[in-house]
Point group: D2
Chain length 151, copies 4
């Protein structure tokens, strides 16, 4: 695999972000010859799952341990279009210390150019009761240790 | 709703087909300004579910009654491209009397022009055991009565 | 087609909204047995295109006349999950008189229950120059006449 | 990136196949807690584009050089379901020497288990005239040299 497709950490003044890559396919595009505005949503899903996996939180295991994490708020701002066959990077970090919610911030870039910025808020839910619960303390520690929490 | 969007029966020499409509959206298209070849798959799903509903077989109820119907073979042949905002008709019939499998045939048309033809084979599975089972006799009767089975 | 699937106008104290229907398919769902959070995006696209068509503005014709309308901001708030085979209604109205942007508000409901609320902002762009332009005066008139603009 | 996610060549008695990886996301799944049958289509697209790229044929450049390659026949056979968070490998090879068409064969596996087998036929089309044309001789040479053509 080309090195430019490897996920990696990005060092920032405010902390660190984790960056994954996505090669734009025909399936992602629409008739305007750009990425369809809805096609970014699964990229954001992959970005947050891989960011958590990188710090030791496997989403599927968290579910097996009785915690679900549904999306409750999704916002995307489209600055520039992405094009077919471009390699997009999706950089993830966390906006504030998780409570009963976790707020991800994403920057989708082509090379150094910002194309889309996104905010996704998810809620911690106890699978057994269906009720809201607080973020696991170990997750908060892991996010802090990885310097992933910044505004 | 415009009349041309209404689902309806189509009389054929060999029996009848049930036709549903789909208006092509940006989400369905790709950068070649045509419908992406994978975007037809959910249209076929809707066509067979609505055809069964029309003759009294509600797929979600069949599931509640312990029968699942996974797709085991999917074939699409692409004759002409579909374009944005076209109203496509998806005509469904059954190729032969269901056994442990049911074989749907689909013709996707724009006006009278054939764009895509498709064959989808699904297997009857007992949810409790996960094993293959025969098609319910009442379903076969309903398909015959509706003249939906033809080659 | 069952009456409950027909698009129709909804009378409100603040004006009117246009409501289209979507039957939830397997393709829309995810492994939590609910509609995937990204699957609502094409429903919103269909809702705004059909709302504009209803008042005489065919999106594809507007494009042919040199006006594009890309999405620049998308926000969805998820209140309750939607389930397989439910008929969802997607109600559309406009939040304020369009300028160089048009701001749609959507309420996605199952029966009378609100599942998702969404805001989508699109920009009027001149296809020839790629530059922002103002909303056509005739479109604003048509929206006002249809009582679609309300906060 | 974990080594298991790296694309790589697979040596076979009959030649070689190129294998790419796909981590199953929520977006790919449906309410039966398995990958939706239509979700494999974009994986096949990525597999053939990356296989061609690996031997020096960049699909987007081929288009710029006036050759399009639309899908004309798609067949998938579903042997076993894929599950959330599994790493799927998609192995690609070519069934016979390309003429005016190219016939890809794909095996989608989880670990060593075959889940889906697929055949996809694409047609070489001259963009300028819209007419069928023969496969470029250099592409055939590259496929032969890479031992990608086998039955």
């Amino acid at each position: 695999m080309e090195k430019k497709l490897m996920p990696h950490w990005v060092e920032l003044d405010s902390g660190r972000a984790f960056s994954i890559k996505h090669r734009v396919r025909y399936a992602d595009t629409d008739r305007m010859d750009v990425v369809y505005h809805g096609s970014y949503v699964p990229m954001l899903e992959a970005a947050r799952v891989e960011t958590l996996r990188e710090i030791g939180w496997v989403y599927s295991e968290m579910e097996q341990n009785g915690i679900m994490l549904p999306v409750i708020d999704l916002n995307l701002k489209y600055h520039k279009p992405a094009k077919y066959d471009q390699i997009l990077s999706v950089e993830s970090h966390i906006v504030s210390t998780p409570t009963a919610k976790i707020h991800f911030k994403f920057y989708i870039k082509h090379e150094s150019e910002l194309l889309v910025s996104a905010d996704v808020v998810l809620a911690f839910v106890d699978s057994a009761t269906g009720r809201a619960r607080r973020a696991p303390a170990e997750l908060i520690s892991a996010l802090e240790k990885a310097k992933l929490i910044h505004g």
